[in-house]
Amino acid sequence: MTSTQEQTRTPDATTPTARPTGRRSPTAAGWHWALLALVMAALILWPLVALEARMVDDLPGALGRLAEVPDLGRTYLDTLIIAVGSTAVAVVAGTGLAWCLTRVPKRLYKAMSLLPIVPLLMPSVASVQGWSYLLSPRTGILNQYLRGWGIGSGDSGPLDVYSMTGIILMAGTILTSFVFMFVSASLRQRGAELEAAAAACGASPGRTFLTVTLPMMRPALVYSTAIVALLALGQFTVPLLLGTPDRIDVVSTAVYKVSADYPVDYALGGALALPLLVVGIAVILVQRRALRDERRYVSVSARSRQVGLTTSRWALVPILGYLVVAVVLPLGALVSVSLSPFWSGRIDPSTFTLDNWTSVWSNSNTVDAIVTTLFALLLTLVVVLPLSYLVSVALLQRTRVPGVVRLPIDILGSIALCMPVSLLGFAFLFTYSEPPFQLYGTTAMVVVAYVTLTIPFAVRPQLSALTAIGPEYSEASRVSGAGSLGTALRVTFPLIRSGLGVAAALVTIIVAHEFTVSLMVTSPTRRVIGSLLYDETVNGSAPNVAVLSLLMLAVTLVGIAISWVIAGGNTVDKI
């Protein structure tokens, strides 16, 4: 109905207080988002496509050389065994820890909920090194104790970390934290009331677990299993450091070995890693299908308290045990080795010395590597935080982004999560060391690689922070007369400060721990801590490796401290 009103008076004078400038057509709004999608595609998709295109160009040759790779079948089989094994270990242990956490006495709950994610701060290189000092067959500290107690005989064993079992357990231990995070978050979201309700209906604890708890955990279990399986398929650090004596190779280490030869046979590397690429893409598609109708980034508004559950101190045992295995023991081994003049397998505090530390410091290689790492970290943060902020805004339902643009941004924003890191590293090496970039040996190359790797991790915390604050705050700013930039700077950023801090913390952890891509994209003249550490593992002394591992951890902690300040003091809690 078109209605005109009688009451309308003609105004005596119209005062146009509004400034009708800045006209734009509605279709133009989509263009800058399309530009963002293009930038993302250039960063993430292009290296992968370019690499596989190179392989297709040289298909017969690549396949021929692939067939000549020694023990090719064995490599793929070992990759599968390690992936399945370590995923199983991680899922069982992570779920178990999450369940234990629900039984922890209330006053210890907060502290205990943080402990299982502390291992995320520990670089996996450091854990692996630590455990190799503990369990190497001859000189391992634990092995010597065990032999001393009459378990095992001779001068070797009884345990061997350089074995398939060793690799699976080690990788599984590292991945456990991820499973714990997902499952525990899902348990916490639903609260214990549902279990209490089942008990009130007369269900026994066992029946409650089967009929209520387990089905409730299922989405988180499926999701975390998929993620962890992908990470396990792309496992690089553990097989590289522990697989050499028994000649255990996985796809990632094989790709790395291709990248270490000169000239690099890119077509062969692309062909080797193709199965992982296919699996990664399949997982993305399945995940999108499974999650299509779910609201993916629901923020937890009210945490239900854990009511009506029996608690027990025994629940602390597995949680503390995990911390001991994943952090305390390897860290202790690293510290003692770094203080020993040489590595003999015996801890002798009377010989402890700081010589290793001072010699590492006086070595210009080390100082350069630390400076390069910190500089690369800083540049990565400067690039990735604004970029991922834009991606988060584009992914918000309330932002008017054309669907054909939002979907690519969404997929590109998470693709780096699903690709094996070794494949990404290899693709970066191919793309950026060739013309027109020729960045090999520069910090820029390292930064581009790190930015690409960390985008998904920087997007998620910002996206959930943006979702949680809702649209009104920025709308209120816009009706107050502030433009997009002013609104972002004065209203949005301060409000999502903790999300920004978490993003910065995650980026820091990934960059400081980065080993795989670093090995491939750094040159002997421009190394980061990770690549220097590997060189020392191959050529140097054990105490130096221990010192570098601890330095890696120190860089992580400094970065966390900085993001703590950014976030206003509650980063670790929110990760």
């Binding site: 109905m1 078109t2 209605s3 005109t4 009103q5 009451q7 309308t8 008076r9 003609t10 105004p11 005596d12 119209t14 005062t15 146009p16 207080t17 509004a18 400034r19 009708p20 400038t21 800045g22 006209r23 734009r24 057509s25 509605p26 008017r400 009104e472 705050y473 709308e475 209120a476 700013s477 816009r478 009706v479 107050s480 007369g481 502030a482 433009g483 002013g486 609104t487 004065r490 209203v491 301060p494 409000l495 400060r497």
Partner: protein, 380 residues
């Protein structure tokens, strides 16, 4: 202050599946406070957000103060921050990281007002809403009513050409709402801003609106001053939305009388001869119905009476409601507690005056029968 013209505006959601605003036209004269009234989902908030530039309409034009804000088939779109508006949100939307004064001064800050001057004006605006004392507090440390007052000050501070209100009082409790309503009335009277006010609360609409627009399915169902809106709702939909709940279905009887609710009760309607149909709905305000012992009470041409049985008396403090079963229909009569001595089971007559009753064409969409109900003496 400025005039606002909305012309043939349409906003579609879900790829055209939902017409939230449907070819709607509305004009706000300078200084008018137009209230958009309607149930949830009628399109009132969408309309407001289109005017604010927070939603992009599909077609139509919006002019504020003579300047085109949206139009020419979407080729002209002035972004929200250049529309010169002030807006009060339902959940206040005060930025938690700024103090009250910083919140209020923000519109001046983005307009480049000097620090000293904006502090002075912010405090002035806070004084208008009686919140000067809160200037240095943060929003989370003040009460809901205070937060909404501060939000009001923030919207007013830059003297915008148009004030928009998106259900600003619905998060407050009953008492605060009444208090703030009064304050808003006074502010509008003093400052004389042009405003568009969205609410689903009819009391708010009646008290605040210079003009009230009742919305239904994205269209204006009725546009009128509060008094004429309430005395003569243009359709059964508007009457029901305004809380006029007593409905008697009438069907023409061969004898010239009207059967009530398909039962045995018959009543006469003045001017019945002219009525353009055989079925109508008679709506009565509960305060316009009184109860009497059958056979007693006033009796003249204007009086209508239907017999019934009291089924319940709902005590609500000062006033009470008597529920009377009339054949198939129920009539509620409201009055001061204790006015009538009737209780459950008593036979009574519900008495009303045709001059205050409303007659609509039968059905949910029925229009008002204009010829009925207004006593000749009342028609000027």
């Amino acid at each position: 202050m400025s005039e606002v013209r909305i012309d043939r505006l349409a906003k579609l959601f879900d790829s055209g599946g939902v017409r939230a605003v449907d070819d709607l036209s509305l004009t706000l004269a300078e200084g008018q406070l137009v209230v958009l009234l309607g149930p949830s989902g009628c399109g009132k908030t969408t309309l407001l957000r289109c005017v604010a530039g927070l939603e992009t309409p599909n077609s139509g034009t919006i002019e504020i103060g003579g300047a085109l804000m949206f139009g020419r088939g979407g080729r002209t779109q002035v972004p929200t921050h250049r529309r010169g508006i002030g807006m009060v949100f339902q959940n206040y939307a005060l930025w938690p990281h700024m103090t009250v004064e910083q919140n209020v001064a923000y519109p001046l800050r983005v307009r480049g007002t000097a620090r000293h001057e904006r502090s002075r004006q912010a405090r002035e605006a806070l004084a208008l809403v009686e919140c000067e004392a809160l200037a240095d507090r943060v929003p989370s440390a003040i009460s809901g009513g205070q937060q909404q007052r501060v939000a009001l000050a923030r919207a007013l501070v830059a003297r915008p050409g148009l004030m928009l209100f998106d259900e600003p009082l619905s998060n407050l409790d009953y008492r605060l709402r009444a208090q703030l309503r009064q304050q808003l009335r006074e502010l509008h009277r003093t400052l004389g801003f042009t405003g568009l006010y969205v609410t689903h609360d009819q009391t708010e609409a009646m008290q605040l609106g210079t003009v009230v627009a009742v919305l239904k399915d994205g269209k204006v169902e009725q546009l009128a001053e509060p008094a004429s809106l309430f005395s003569r709702p243009a359709s059964a939909y508007v009457a029901r939305f305004l809380g006029i709940g007593n409905r008697l279905e009438l069907a023409r009887d061969p004898g010239g009388l009207w059967a009530v609710g398909g039962g045995d009760v018959r009543i006469g309607l003045p001017a019945a001869g002219d009525l353009p149909g055989d079925r109508f709905d008679l709506y009565l305000r509960s305060t316009d119905v009184s109860l009497a012992v059958p056979g007693s009470g006033p009796d003249d041409a204007d009086v209508g009476r239907v017999p019934g049985v009291v089924t319940d008396v709902v005590y609500s403090g000062e006033s009470s409601e008597w529920v009377v079963q009339v054949g198939e229909a129920r009539i509620v009569a409201a009055a001061r507690t204790g006015v009538w001595p009737f209780g459950s089971g008593d036979r009574v007559e519900a008495v009303f005056r045709h001059s205050t009753a409303l007659l609509y064409e039968s059905g949910e969409q029925g229009r008002l029968v204009e010829s009925y109900g207004v006593r000749p003496s009342l028609v000027s």
